[in-house]
């Protein structure tokens, strides 16, 4: 038996619903469990409407969870008041999808980087500038970029600034919300390489939110596949990609385009479109769309069942 890994992030039974007219509930996140060890990358994969971005915001309380618990570095964060929450953001930071929207257009890069150093680290001015220069070097930018405004930077440079801001206060957990989704492919590779480098150097744990399966396979140690507010499959990246168990995972993987010649995919097709997450029935989330559906699928919501060490799937049909 090896020693237990240090758990950076643990979410248990995380729920978030939004009240709808007529007393109905939109279940954006409906019972999600996550565990992330130090220095590890867990990818949260799903299509639009899966709730993956809501999970990302709930674990840092940018959105307040409706239920369940979130612990960061062993401490439950839900009871924290405003002061303690601000202090918590020294441990966990976020990199946003669109670096254009996540940088204040009226702040120069210097102002962006000085802000966390001033507010979170209480650094005096000369030290801040020193640290800002070091951060710029860490993310592959030059000192000259400090005086630029976001609109004077390329998309890739903006995302580097977003990453520098996130690591400024030396967190050990980064929430990466589709960090490469709005970048060109050539820039995407550079940003992913930078993230890998920083993870090694700074021993960061990554919760990597993405819809891009190719990127996920490239960066993640483990994968959790989300569909309609719940995790339907989770496991080591290679296991999930080579031996997907849940029909949704199979459909997703078989639909992903590959930039290679002569790859003919055996498609698993789902029926129709993603249903509304408002007042979902007590059944498998994929029921009605699944080509492998059995009567058991509508008798309650299937739980994640282990199918191999560290690999679990919430499908009573394929796991049986």
């Amino acid at each position: 038996m090896t020693t237990e890994p240090y758990v950076v992030l643990r979410a248990t039974g995380l729920r978030r619903h939004f009240a709808q007219p007529g007393g109905r509930k939109l279940m954006a996140v409906d019972g999600v469990d996550l565990m992330l060890a130090a220095g590890e990358t867990l990818a949260l994969v799903g299509e639009s409407g899966s709730g993956k971005s809501t999970v990302a915001r709930c674990v840092v309380r940018l959105i307040e969870p409706s239920g369940g618990d979130v612990a960061i570095n062993g401490r439950s964060i839900l009871p924290l008041g405003a002061m303690d929450l601000a202090a918590l953001y020294r441990e966990v930071q976020m990199v946003f999808q669109d670096p254009n929207a996540s940088l204040n257009p009226r702040m120069s890069v210097r102002q962006v980087l000085h802000e966390p150093l001033r507010l979170q680290m209480a650094m005096p001015e000369p030290k801040r500038e020193q640290r800002a220069l070091a951060l710029m070097a860490m993310v592959g930018l030059t000192p000259g970029h400090l005086d630029r405004y976001p609109h004077e930077l390329s998309g890739g440079q903006r995302q580097r600034v977003g990453i520098a801001r996130a690591i400024a206060a030396e967190p050990n957990l980064l929430i990466l919300d589709e960090p490469t989704a709005s970048l060109d492919v050539s820039v995407r590779g550079q940003i992913l390489a930078l993230l890998k480098q920083l993870q090694r150097d700074l021993k960061l744990a990554y919760l990597f939110i993405s819809h891009d399966l190719q990127v996920v396979r490239h960066v993640a140690d483990r994968v959790a596949v989300m569909y309609l507010g719940g995790i339907v499959e989770t496991g080591p990246t290679e296991a999930v990609f080579t031996r997907p168990m849940h029909p949704y995972t199979r459909a997703l993987l078989s639909a992903a385009p590959l930039a290679r010649w002569g790859m003919k995919r055996e498609r698993l097709r789902l029926i129709g479109e993603i249903p509304s997450p408002i007042d979902p029935p007590d059944a498998c989330r994929l029921a009605g769309r699944c080509p492998l559906q059995q009567p058991a699928c509508t008798a309650g919501r299937p739980a994640l069942q282990p199918v191999a060490p560290g690999h679990a799937s919430a499908c009573p049909v394929t796991s049986a």
């Binding site: 997703l252 290679r260 789902l270």
Partner: protein
């Protein structure tokens, strides 16, 4: 000669800023679209791929100033046509599908009405016959319950369904010879994207369409295109068959783009 439906030769131009400065954006762009074939124009942001496509239809932004080039469609130079002659080509013989289908549809009319109106404009006939044609077109792009969906408004359609409706409009109602698709699946989920691309391939075969797919995604290209034109910074970098682009790319830029798309370690 008639092997090519469309030939773009030496297209060059620049954007004019409000102060009159010119920023060159297209440099001697030349490529051909062979009849009955699906050609991809691939490039990243700023490659000029969309601008080239818009120029074919004569709907480039007003700030774009063309300095040279010809676009020969079926023997006539589109750039030399007057507005009236161009309208006879645009829509009827060359149709386009845009990235964001829901904003390309008019929000105040039902989807069926919009398809029917275009049908009557191009093919005449009664309102009832046009609506039947619209519903039939929606059925052929695999929209479930087409008669009911035809009575709905664009906001009631998901992104994928709206794009299907746009494809029905462009490919089946307009019945063009050339269909230009500008990032038709960008922003859609992968499962939806795969279905849309399959649908397009099917329609192109059935309708004997010449299609031109503008995209940044080499993944989409690999499965659905015959020919590839790679563009970068306003220039055509390489033109080849899809197989050649993926198995033996000649130009350094194509090789880099391919490596980046495949996320090969050390590429970047």
């Amino acid at each position: 000669m008639s092997d090519y439906l469309l030939e773009v030769t030496g297209l060059s131009g620049a954007f004019r800023s409000p102060t009159g400065e010119l920023t060159p954006v297209l440099h001697d762009v030349s490529f051909d679209l062979r009849a009955g074939v699906t050609t991809a124009i691939v490039g990243e942001t700023g490659s000029g791929k969309s601008l080239t496509a818009l120029s074919i239809l004569g709907i480039q932004p007003a700030t774009f100033v063309r300095s040279a080039g010809r676009i020969i469609f079926d023997g006539q130079d589109l750039l030399a046509l007057d507005a009236r002659a161009l309208r006879a080509v645009r829509g009827r013989r060359i149709a386009m599908v845009f990235q964001d289908a829901r904003s390309a549809l008019n929000p105040v009319f039902t989807v069926g009405r919009q398809l029917a109106d275009v049908h009557r404009l191009y093919h005449g006939g009664s309102r009832a016959a046009a609506m039947d044609a619209a519903i039939d077109a929606l059925r052929r792009v695999a929209i479930p319950e087409p008669a009911r969906r035809a009575r709905q408004y664009p906001h009631e359609f998901s992104g994928g369904m709206a794009q299907r409706a746009m494809i029905a409009l462009a490919a089946l109602i307009c019945r063009p010879e050339l269909l230009i698709l500008d990032e038709p699946t960008t922003g859609l989920d992968v499962t939806t994207q795969a279905e849309i691309m399959e649908l397009l391939a099917e329609l192109a075969r059935a309708e004997r369409l010449t299609t031109c797919l503008i995209t940044h995604d080499l993944g989409v290209v690999a499965e659905s295109c015959d020919q590839v034109v790679v563009m970068n910074a306003g220039r055509v970098v390489e033109t080849a068959t899809t197989e050649a682009i993926f198995t033996s790319p000649r130009e350094a830029y194509t090789q880099r783009l391919l490596a980046a798309s495949q996320l090969v370690e050390g590429a970047a």
